[in-house]
């Protein structure tokens, strides 16, 4: 028995695929790879599979991860090559590692490619004050200041906009979708691409 973590990309057309659909696609990938994988118990067993953090539709990921369990020992290189051979376009298998114990994700690094006329300074200064956004949840809508949650790593001016890199919480019970950051700027910015560069454990 070994718990395996696979790092992969979710790029290009895969941004149009929802989290649930991706989960099903990965389960099929595991089956196609003919690896000895652990199945769930029950009447309709399916591969035991956990995607570390869901990614919203329209967002891409450069280093996503999922975990599964092998019932026999197989070296990581073999696992990697079997998965690579059976992966779909937009998914590249980056790395396969054995994990010991449960390690939960803490935060994520995001790259926001924005179309805007704002200057990099103007954009950056916003992160120093309060950033009130309307958050929707089951209990209704409420105003939340997201500034304390987000840290701006860099903001660079490009031809017609800004590329900003931010770190935001990405734990199971504490997650901030960067779409709130985009939403904070209202119609001053529009997102061309939202890419999760990395998940930090």
């Amino acid at each position: 028995m070994a718990d395996i973590r696979v790092y992969f990309t979710k790029l290009g057309r895969l941004k149009y695929i929802s989290h649930l659909d991706l989960q099903r696609a990965i389960a099929r990938l595991l089956v196609r790879s003919e690896l000895p994988i652990a199945y769930s118990e029950g009447f309709n067993p399916h591969p035991r599979l956990t995607i570390t953090q869901p990614l919203s539709i329209y967002q891409e990921g450069e280093r996503e991860s999922f975990d599964f369990r092998l019932t026999e020992e197989i070296d990581s290189e073999t696992v990697k090559s079997r998965l690579s051979q059976n992966a779909f376009s937009g998914m590249e298998i980056l790395e396969v590692e054995v994990i010991v114990g449960k390690s939960a994700s803490k935060s994520a690094i995001w790259r926001l490619e924005l179309k805007t006329e704002m200057s990099a300074e103007e954009f950056s200064s916003a992160f120093k004050g309060e950033m009130q956004v309307t958050k929707r949840s089951k209990s209704g809508e409420k105003l939340v200041d997201i500034a304390p949650l987000v840290s701006l790593i860099s903001a660079e001016k490009t031809d017609n906009g800004i590329v900003a890199r931010i770190e935001a919480p990405a734990a199971g019970n504490n997650y901030l979708n960067p779409s709130y950051v985009v939403a904070f700027f209202g119609d001053r910015v529009s997102a061309k691409r939202v890419v999760r560069e990395n998940i930090i454990f």
């Binding site: 149009y16 659909d21 099929r28 196609r32 329209y58």
Partner: protein, 622 residues
Amino acid sequence: MIDYEKYAPLLAKVEKPGRYVGGEFRSEIPDPEKADLRVCFCFPDIYEIGMSNLGVKILTGALNQTGFISCERCYTPWPDMCKQLTENGVPLYALESGDPLNLFDIVAFTLQYELSYTNVLAMLKLARIPLLSSERGENDPIIIAGGPCAYNPEPLADFVDVFSIGEGEDALVELSTLIRDCKKNGIGREETLYRIAQLDGFYVPSLYSVTYNENGTIASFEPKRSNVPVSIRKRIISDLDNVYFPRKCSVPFIETVHDRVMLEVFRGCLRGCRFCQAGMVYRPYREKSPEVLNADAVESVANSGYSEISLTSLSISDYTHLRELIDKLLSWTDDKKVNLSLPSMRIDNFYEELLEKVSSVRKSGLTFAPEAGTQRLRDVINKNITEEEIITACEKAFDGGRNSLKLYFMNGLPTETDNDICGIAGLAQNIVDTYYSKKRFGGGRGVNVTVSVSCFVPKPFTPFQWCAQDSIEELERKQQLLKSEIKTKKISYKYHDARVSRIEAVFARGDRRLGSALLLAAERGMMLDGWDEFFSYEKWLEVFSDCGIDPAFYANRAFETDEILPWDFIDIGVTKEFMKREYAKAISEETTPDCRTKCSGCGAASLCNGKCVCNERGANNG
């Protein structure tokens, strides 16, 4: 590869953008730039339905392996995407290359049900291809259509350049070869269509003229040019073991209606239900061998990663080698955690044994299709199932621990009386009583019988093709009568919208004069009529009245057995004489045994040199 980024602004504004980007695992196709011929295969309904269709997988696969064709796919966009395409001036595009449909050499449609005709027109319109064949020029694609509804192609005669009649694996390759050669040699559209009309199994509607009698029926139907056949015989594949089957299908990301490996065990059906078009047009009955089917299954699972296999044929229990096939499959499916689903399986000892022994056989919902409530009416429609058989099967299923089942019926069947309608409630009640006749497992668990009733639609190439459909008022009266006859909450009752069935009947038995109605419906933006949320009976009545068409002429009129039917020029192998005989037997409440028990001389054996399941050579062959 598709530059989907150019569609990103549209995709950002629609629900389920995954429907419109392709890129599924194994969806690669031969390079369009290197192919001699580009085909876009369209399914006139949304992605989730179209991607479930085995026929599309077979035909696109068969074309893509020819070496000279690059075949792509397209589905009907949901209205939100239609709006985006229209507002942004973007023509409908194919999923693999992202190229607009009007750049293709051939745009093909499969016609699975009458209510998708408006989708065909909507897709052409979104693709900016002229709707009328007569208005297409040298640079427009050739529009072809096939599938079950092509057996009466006439309602779409104004819009489709070529109909493919019958099974398409060989026929479409032949057609494509001819079109490629014409294209290479600079032969124009008109001449190309004329040559296609001389191929076996193809119908070019523009090469025929129709005249009408004063009472509206057809006076004549004739080819306009020499060498154009008077009658078009359907194509069939005689050896299913040696025909192309797609073992490497694309695997959708989005969950589709049938998201699993599908195995086609046989084509045709042994039972001659007199209302059933599939049972007639797919004759003769031809089986695939268990060895080939098992190999198909092994490879399909390995190539896709699917964890379910479904055996899809009309009445799976009729398969000669069923036990052998299931044994072969079960020898590996359990290990691979692959489920087996056997939809149209008869509930007999064999089935119950299977359920008990093997956990990988999916307990499919228990369903029966008695179709009619009394033995008399079941004899009329030739549904050879008795109440006793149903009760016995239910008893077995209840003993096995099950407590719910579904029954399918039709109302409005020829010769139906109120007594037959009440019989439906009676049969359901008997099943409920059977459940309570002895103490069952699970103590307090009650039984639930679902009665689902659709409305009879007379279909071409059935013994009931001449019959009138009941009026809406009559269908609805019968629906209410049945409702009042059901006295217990153990029976849940569902029925179809009679208005939908009426429009279906109009197009099922329609002729080419309905083209004006379809054109007007397309102008008015009507589409997705198979979806309750978009179907509007009132709009259809308006369309018919604005075109001077009386829908009752097609739906509610008893056709004369000696009048020229709009689909008479299509030859399905089964003869009109057989249909007439069966119709007469129906009226006198006589049944016809299944093909294996006794040959009824339907004529279909002529399609495969006299070999058929009903004679010895056929039996040995199968």
